[in-house]
């Protein structure tokens, strides 16, 4: 939603913008006040002394005629020095979801669908929709991805950590795919039901995430190894055998009298 403000955009600070802090009492106001007092002193000798004795520099701008909304804003702003802070122009998560729904470069249609999805969520839950979407995206986001790697004649699945953007994308993609089995004529309605389902603890997206995590857990011995064999401690720690001296030193530090077992099968 665009909000019209009768002032220069650079004087307004967005919540997540990189603009530096600018107070309303900027350099532009000082010359204006000085010019006004000079004019007044010429017309009414002694007024400058009177103004300085009262110590109200804001009186000078007020005596000049307020001809434009910008000067009115300046007058109001000189009394309150705190900058005006607006929320960001678009939510990053919703922008990301819009990009996923976008087809053939039609951003307006995708944006309308996202807005309609938020409306459906609110109709289903009577609660603010954006926090629910955020919670669902984070809940459905997998933490790892499995990459297939050939070791000898055997294909092993190696778990690889994902960045935040990759996780969110994977979670939203899983929710979009799972929403195809939901009721509803439009994608926004089905996606809204999927979001509500994920928040309530169900949904196919969560099941898919559990499957990926389970396979990654089973193949946890390959995440550090690469092509070298691994050893696994009973408490779940995994070390690489690439540096034997380091392994011996760590084994001595963790000496508990328990035995190791080799977890990787290298054929």
């Amino acid at each position: 939603m665009n909000v019209f403000l009768p002032c220069r955009p650079s004087l307004v600070r967005h919540a997540f913008s990189g603009l530096g802090r600018r107070t309303m009492s900027s350099a532009r106001d000082a010359p204006t006040a000085a010019a006004a007092t000079t004019t007044l002193n010429f017309l009414f000798p002694g007024v400058e002394a009177a103004l300085s004795s009262t110590g109200t520099s804001t009186a000078a701008p007020s005596t000049s005629a307020i001809t434009s909304p910008s000067s009115a804003f300046k007058v109001a702003s000189t009394t309150a020095a705190a900058p005006l802070t607006l929320p960001p122009p678009s939510d990053p998560l919703l922008s990301f979801l819009t990009s996923l729904l976008q087809q053939s470069g039609n951003r307006t249609r995708a944006s309308a669908r996202v807005s309609s999805m938020l409306l459906h969520i609110h109709a289903l839950t009577r609660a603010p929709a954006l926090p629910l979407v955020r919670h669902a995206a984070l809940a459905a986001a997998p933490a790892v991805r499995l990459k297939s790697h050939k070791r000898g004649s055997k294909n092993v699945q190696m778990p690889v950590a994902l960045s935040e953007k990759q996780r969110i994308r994977a979670g939203l993609k899983a929710m979009l795919k799972s929403s195809e089995g939901k009721q509803g004529k439009s994608v926004q309605e089905r996606m809204a039901r999927e979001v509500v389902g994920v928040v309530r603890g169900g949904g196919g997206a969560l099941e898919g995430k559990a499957v990926v995590h389970r396979v990654a857990m089973v193949n946890r011995g390959t995440c550090l190894c690469g092509d070298t064999p691994c050893a696994e401690f009973p408490d779940g720690g995994v070390l690489s055998l690439g540096n034997l001296w380091e392994l011996v030193a760590r084994a001595q530090a963790h000496a508990r009298g328990t035995d190791w077992k080799v977890c990787c099968d290298h054929s």
């Binding site: 933490a143 790697h149 559990a210 389970r214 857990m217 995440c223 092509d227 779940g236 720690g237």
Partner: protein
Amino acid sequence: MPVHIANVRVRPKKAPPTNLCAGQLSAMLGCWAATKDLHNTGTCAQAAQDLFHCMRVTPKTGKVARPSINYHLAKLKKITK
């Protein structure tokens, strides 16, 4: 009878994927194996947050230059022609 190879090329071996935060990842996977908390809602929540923080602050590794052996082999083929 001599063997004739039209283009002498070497196909590089596929390298295993690099893991940026291997320690934190192995800790989280070990926590899953011990507690079965696959959704990181209970005991493994802290291990997951450590991994996410590491992925957030760790800089990405630069692109490794591909070997130019195939270029030199093609040059050699022209020389020996």
